[in-house]
């Protein structure tokens, strides 16, 4: 693939190295002259000095033949504009933007960015995952499918404790793919009897998530 990366900070640097190692054709764009020079020392011709948000620079970098543009500068607005210009002006098929403020995640998607990566959001999710709270934790978003992979731990006082999956009457949009109980992995069916502290992994839509919160965690609409 031909990949353009905007932003020569730590993330951009290691991303370029990693992708070059994988055999892709990569060009890293860095605006600051001194930083660009240092990057060139390490990465050679894979680095161009220029502002990736400027159409002229993207043109010089061959943006119209890029398969993928990744924006990893430290500023959300720069990442947004880079991806939008790449898509709108150069018809790049796929754009990935780093999002620093988790609030901008949804906004970016609404403004046409294909994939967003929010380090803050990821760490927040990891923390929720590590601490045994009884909450619903989103793990991965599958954009194309419009689904989230989520994890829920069944609280001991849950309605779900002692009931089969079938009896829970979850909507069809909830697909419980795996139940782990202690060390045990269970491939669930409708007859699987749930217990407190079971970890459920489900592929679901946003509506399905709400149903899971209500039926398994007992969260009312107000709490969600």
């Amino acid at each position: 693939m031909y990949i353009l990366i905007g932003g020569g900070g730590q993330v951009g640097f290691y991303l370029t190295k990693g992708l070059l190692d994988q055999g892709h054709e990569v060009l890293l764009l860095e605006r600051d002259a001194r930083r660009a020079e240092r990057l060139k020392d390490e990465l050679g011709s894979a680095v161009i000095r220029g502002d990736a948000c400027e159409a002229r620079v993207l043109q010089k970098a061959g943006c119209e033949r890029a398969d993928l543009v990744i924006a990893v500068t430290g500023d959300d607005e720069d990442n947004l504009v880079l991806c939008q210009v790449a898509k709108q002006r150069f018809n790049v098929h796929m754009t990935i933007a780093r999002v620093n403020n988790p609030r901008n995640d949804a906004i970016f998607k609404q403004l046409g960015i294909d994939v967003t990566v929010s380090p803050t959001r990821n760490i927040l999710n990891l923390i929720e995952w590590q601490i045994p709270h009884h909450t619903l934790v989103p793990l991965i978003t599958l954009n194309r499918a419009g689904l989230n992979l989520v994890e829920v731990t069944v609280p001991p006082d849950s309605e779900a404790n002692g009931r089969t999956i079938h009896a829970l009457n979850l909507p069809r949009s909830v697909n419980i793919a795996l139940v782990t109980r202690g060390e045990e992995n269970i491939t669930p069916s409708g007859d699987t009897l749930l217990q407190g502290e079971d970890h459920l992994f489900a592929l679901t839509t946003t509506d399905g998530e709400q149903a899971m919160r209500a039926l398994i965690l007992g969260e009312s609409d107000a709490e969600q």
Partner: protein, 177 residues
């Protein structure tokens, strides 16, 4: 009208003062509190310190009931991002932003964003002055700068239509009230 302005630099402050004097309800946002020193003593709008790309700040400024929004920070990308948030998330229809880079402006024009490029406008006015100055010595730039209109100053009547024609051809300009 209720107007929210993002950026209290020279343009933002001037715009805020002008709108306030015309009795519009103005709220102006800037990340730096000292920027509000540029506002006139008779500015009777509201000031808010904060990041105009942050939904909470925009809500606090009253974006949900705003009639218009102008993004005039000194960063093109910040202006572009906030303008899109206001347009697409808060559904304000009258949104204008300043985009210095003419190429970026063209891209966002195609995406339906109204913008003004001082780069393009300035260059065109300069060019008019250099290549085709007014025979009476009145400058197109002069009449725009003083805000003189064709109706009030007969001597600048010849220059004023030229100035407005140039400005109109530069970019889609927000309609004056």
């Amino acid at each position: 009208m209720k107007i929210i302005i993002l950026g209290c630099g020279r343009v933002g402050a001037t715009l805020a003062n002008m709108l306030s004097k015309s009795n519009h309800e103005v709220v102006i946002i800037d990340q730096n509190g000292e920027a509000f020193d540029r506002l006139g003593d008779d500015f009777n709008g509201q000031t808010i310190i904060g990041d105009g790309t942050d939904e909470d700040i925009l809500k606090r400024a009253g974006i949900e009931t705003a009639d218009a929004f102008a993004a005039v920070t000194n960063g093109d990308n910040r202006n572009i991002m906030s303008a899109q948030i206001v347009k697409h998330i808060f559904n304000v229809s009258n949104v204008v932003c300043r985009i210095y880079d003419p190429i970026r402006q063209e891209t966002y024009n195609r995406l339906g964003l109204k913008s003004i490029s001082p780069t393009t406008v300035g260059a065109k006015l300069m060019m008019k002055e250099i290549v085709d100055p007014d025979a009476n010595g009145r400058s197109a730039i002069g009449s725009l700068a003083t805000g003189a209109s064709a109706s009030t100053a007969p001597a600048t009547a010849a220059a004023a239509p030229a100035a407005s024609a140039t400005a109109a051809s530069a970019t889609p300009v927000a309609p004056r009230r």
